[in-house]
């Protein structure tokens, strides 16, 4: 394309980037969720159902959700930098935000779980073959309960970008995996939080599987100087909105 680089050979990444652009030209999916069959992310090929989903009213059971409480979560679970005998390497950060339903109501006292790579972009997982150093002081898993305002808060290390094998020279933008429950089973969400300004977003088939630009923005945290703790850690804010109808937990004596 660029007249300055006529000799450059087309790369596998170019093919993927073109496929990402082509997919983005199709109408956005309902609610901004990615289409499960998304060609640029190759592993979807044999894993996305070929039949359409069957529309069904949520059952009474599916209108409720599991309950978690203080016994499920230790206070230190929310600080991923204190899970070892020493301090992990990397940039210490605070990540906080609110979990809301689509009506803007806070999701209270509900479980939030996170997992992530270390500062070098390496997961503490046997299957991670990225030749970057493990950090003996960082595992990368955390959990907490939301407060009465729906707020969660984690202290962690900014994860590094890492390569993966979707295609030659494929790299994931830095991200933290999040798992969320609502007040109804139908609100279950697993997603990833990204950091602002990452140059890898539009090369990455997973981020780009969300084709609607506004929906993409909802995956990106905001740097927030009021969350930043002086002399200690940079702060990020990221609110999460759960899809699906919420529910008031049923009175156990009534069901």
């Amino acid at each position: 394309m660029s007249p300055a680089a006529p000799e450059r050979r087309r790369t596998e990444q170019d093919e993927v980037t073109d496929a990402i652009r082509a997919a983005a030209a199709v109408d956005p999916q309902r609610g901004g969720h990615p289409d499960r069959a998304y060609a640029p992310y190759r592993s979807t090929g044999l894993r996305a159902p070929s039949q359409p989903l069957v529309v069904a009213p949520a059952s009474l059971l599916e209108q409720t959700a599991p309950v978690f409480g203080a016994k499920d979560v230790r206070p230190t679970d929310a600080d991923l930098t204190v899970h070892s005998t020493g301090e992990p390497l990397g940039e210490r950060i605070v990540v906080t935000g609110r979990v809301l339903d689509r009506d803007g109501r806070p999701v209270r006292n509900q479980l939030v779980e996170v997992w992530q790579a270390n500062a070098s972009g390496r997961y503490a997982h046997d299957g991670d073959r990225h030749p970057a150093p493990l950090d003996p002081h960082f595992t990368g898993g955390g959990r907490c309960l939301t407060d009465d305002d729906g707020r969660y808060r984690f202290v962690t290390i900014k994860p590094g970008a890492y390569p993966w094998r979707n295609h030659h020279n494929a790299w994931r933008p830095a991200h933290i995996h999040f798992s969320l429950f609502g007040t109804a089973f139908t609100q279950r969400l697993v997603t990833q939080m990204y950091f602002p300004g990452d140059q890898l977003f539009h090369l990455d088939p997973i981020f780009s599987s969300v084709t609607d630009e506004k929906a993409q923005q909802r995956l990106i945290a905001t740097y927030d100087h009021d969350t930043t703790v002086a002399e200690w850690a940079l702060g990020y804010q990221w609110d999460i909105v759960l899809d699906g109808p919420g529910a008031t937990p049923p009175d156990p004596d009534e069901v």
């Binding site: 499960r36 996305a48 070929s50 529309v55 599916e62 209108q63 203080a70 997982h125 699906g244 156990p252």
Partner: protein, 191 residues
């Protein structure tokens, strides 16, 4: 006010140290009266086992009550929390030890377990249900089962098969292709 939802992203391959927990599949301790094994294999469109899927189950107790007790992540051996979470193993297999759910009062649906399927390569989780064949009348009246062609409804039915410790049921998940499991777009609710 209607807020736009946060989009889903895949659980990826490296959830093993983030989501599974000890006893995740043990809704009841071994030796519990009436305990069943619910087990199966997750397969992809080529019929190959999926070794990096994660399944979650949510259910009522045998009395038909929907649990509202905390403690799934720190099982105390007494409380029935109704929630299980299990990763598939290298063969794509999973096992949950639980009690069969009873009918929930005023529920038009037959007793079932609600299931969420996560996996690397799945950009958005999938919902499905496990029903049990012994609830003949309730199953025949179930709004979902009765609306499906027979061969599709069969993908939601646990198949009795014994295990060494007592009664068991097989529930396989086929993500794609022949015998593809019925996956649900759950709508409405109690608003």
């Amino acid at each position: 006010m209607t807020l736009d939802p946060s989009p889903s992203q895949t659980v990826g391959p490296f959830f093993a140290f983030g989501l599974p927990f000890d006893g995740g599949g043990d809704l009841v301790p071994p030796g519990t009266a009436g305990a069943i094994s619910l087990h199966g294999t997750v397969r992809d469109g080529a019929g190959a086992p999926v070794p990096d899927a994660l399944l979650e189950f949510w259910q009522a107790g045998p009395d038909g009550r929907i649990p509202s007790r905390a403690g799934s992540l720190a099982r105390d051996g007494r409380s029935f929390t109704g929630f299980a979470r299990v990763p598939t193993d290298r063969s794509g297999d999973y096992t949950v030890r639980t009690l069969r759910p009873g009918p929930i009062a005023h529920s038009p649906e037959a007793p079932h377990l609600a299931v969420t399927v996560f996996a690397r390569g799945l950009l958005h989780h999938l919902f499905t249900r496990v029903y049990f064949p012994n609830h003949v009348e309730a199953n025949a009246a179930d709004p979902l089962l009765s609306a499906l062609p027979e061969e599709r409804a069969a993908t939601l039915m646990a198949v009795p098969d014994g295990w060494f410790g007592g009664p068991g049921y097989r529930f396989d998940v086929r993500l794609q292709g022949p015998g593809e499991t019925v996956f649900l777009d759950l709508i409405g609710g109690s608003e």
